[in-house]
Amino acid sequence: MTQPILSIRDLTVEIPTRYGILRPVDGVSYDIAPGEILGVVGESGAGKSMAGNAVIGLLSPPAHISKGEIHVNGTRIDHLKGDAMRKLRGKQIGMVFQDPLTSLNPLLRIGDQLTETILAHLDVTRDQAQQRAIAALEEVGIPGARERVNSYPHEFSGGMRQRVVIALALCAEPSLIIADEPTTALDVSVQAQIIALLKQLCRTRGTAVMLITHDMGVIAEAADRVAVMYAGKLVELGPVRDVLTKPSHPYTDGLMGSTPLASRGKARLHQIPGAMPRLDNLPTGCAFHPRCPYSTDKCAADPAPTLQDGGGAAACFFPLPHKAKVA
């Protein structure tokens, strides 16, 4: 097996507050292989984005990594600070944000934003950087890239801007892309194009992608594997087909049940009762047990088992038996 691009082990992010320490990310471990798209799903506040920000070193203080390790291309990066971390950003880890309308600087030409990024990481001349900028725009499917390189962000539509954002994230050729809800702010038809683009770039370049979303449709469309997060913990991890069709964790099962599907007809959508607990008020034992239809006394008393990549598929004492898993 090839070495994973990204390897997270027991990652824990803490935010000290006056009411105690919150853990928006709690003991999360997963790998992403070259050319693989890992979908990270969960409700708002489950810690998906926080994990992504931790990897790229952009946690806003006082949030910080308190435990665990992050390796990119075999190098440990979680303890890097200042300039050492800055050099990794863009060069090894690229990031795509949710809203293309706000993630481009409105006062700078997109060509300037591209070349400054290229010049910050690659040893090229200004002219070469300009050529690369045009090539990057062509690669993400901006028509007339040679002319459009001198345009300002407001001269592009939302979908085109997200393509520009992707070009910016990729222009220094990072091996890992963190895409934080890259399609949430876009029209449905444009969403599909952006997802297809991300997928194609990832396949041709062998870039690993951490695709953070709460959209199951996007996951089904793009991801190779899925990591499901709940209240800061990783609750299920597996190939997309298995997780979507045969979820092991009761939370994933509830999540899938609450996704509208054309095949289900007009039947009422399933709801998971209750809401995700606040981080300052987590229940004892498994964080999901108050909402879980299968919970027992053990779930309320003991912390759920931690999910290890390559180990079990769900962080649950009683994973759902869909198939002859016990083998």
Binding site: S103, N105, H154, E155
Partner: protein
């Protein structure tokens, strides 16, 4: 773009006309210049003769139109007190005020923006907090008090800098400059600090709050996520976006630097147009007052026009006629 500029210039002229009318109508209430001009031993005939000679017996609209007609040709009449053309007096006095205002404005903008950026980037640092606390002094103390305190400290106690006047000046054509002599430069220090301190602290606090707002934006996070250096993020990306609202206020402040030079010039006996205006009020020297007010309003309107044009050069979204589109 050109249509916009023409439209703005037309608007500016309208503003000037209204300002002139308001100012001119106020002069009827400041007193009768005849009282000051004629001595104790005057006859009713003397008064009538002078009144007719100065055109003060004519109705207000006629006086105003005459004033405008002269002003357009650069003729603001003759000063009642000095008996010389007002335009000549203003030309003599203007360099002193303009040099003082330029130095104050430069200090206010450069130090104000510099400290504003510094206090925004080092938001919780000790130095930044100290600067913020000190800036309260600049915002809250009245100008004349700052001037008097500076004179007390640097002229009276330490004896380093002159307390009044402009020092030696050098003539270049009709312009007199204090930049070229040591005493001229020394004399500039205290008045320009006094005049610019309020503007400086105001610009600094404004830049800081705008910058903090900009630093929270997604495009700043994205710039960081692309691994740009802090310097590029702070100055290339953040400062430029900060400047749009800052320019508005700064432009207005530059106008008021020239207008409020009156107080500073009085405290430091600076031989500029502000001091001229104060003396003119005491003497009800209507031509000088009218010309001064028109001059100040021309400057205000001009600065505002420049500010509006600066927006275009900074923010591409405003260049509406240059449509990119798709």
């Amino acid at each position: 773009m050109l249509a916009y500029i023409i439209q703005r210039i037309a608007q500016s002229f309208l503003v000037l006309l209204v300002v002139g009318a308001v100012a001119f109508s106020m002069f009827r209430f400041v007193g009768d210049p005849i009282d000051n001009m004629l001595g104790q031993e005057r006859t009713q005939a003397d008064i009538e003769r002078l009144r007719t000679q100065l055109g003060l017996d004519q109705p207000f609209p006629v006086q105003y139109v005459k004033f405008l007609a002269g002003a357009v040709q650069g003729n603001f009449g003759v000063s009642y007190r000095q008996g010389r053309p007002v335009s000549q007096i203003l030309l003599e006095r203007a360099p002193a005020t303009l040099e003082l205002a330029a130095v104050s404005g430069f200090l206010a903008i450069s130090i104000g923006i510099g400290l504003g950026v510094f206090t925004a980037i080092r938001r919780d640092g000790f130095t930044a907090n100290a600067i913020m606390s000190l800036s309260l002094i600049g915002v809250s103390l009245p100008t004349f008090l700052i001037g008097i305190l500076l004179i007390y400290l640097f002229s009276v106690e330490l004896g380093w800098l002159p307390s009044f006047g402009r020092g030696d000046t050098v003539r270049i054509g009709w312009w007199t400059t204090g930049f070229l002599t040591e005493s001229g430069l020394k004399a500039l220090i205290l008045p320009s600090i006094t005049l610019g301190l309020y503007q400086m602290t105001l610009i600094m606090r404004l830049v800081r709050s705008e910058m903090l707002e900009v630093l929270r934006q997604d495009y700043i996070r994205f710039a960081r996520a692309r691994g740009l250096r802090d310097r590029a993020v702070n100055f290339r990306h953040a400062l430029k976006n900060t400047l749009v609202p800052v320019i508005t206020v700064t432009g207005l402040q530059l106008g008021s630097i020239i207008a409020f030079a009156i107080i500073t010039e009085t405290v430091f006996q600076w031989p500029g147009v502000g001091l001229l205006f104060i003396n003119a009020i005491q003497f009800v020297d209507i031509p000088v007052m009218a010309a001064y007010l028109m001059l100040i309003s021309v400057m205000f309107v001009g600065i505002n026009l420049i500010v509006d044009l600066l927006y275009f050069s900074i923010d591409p979204r405003l260049r509406a006629d240059r449509t990119g589109g798709h």
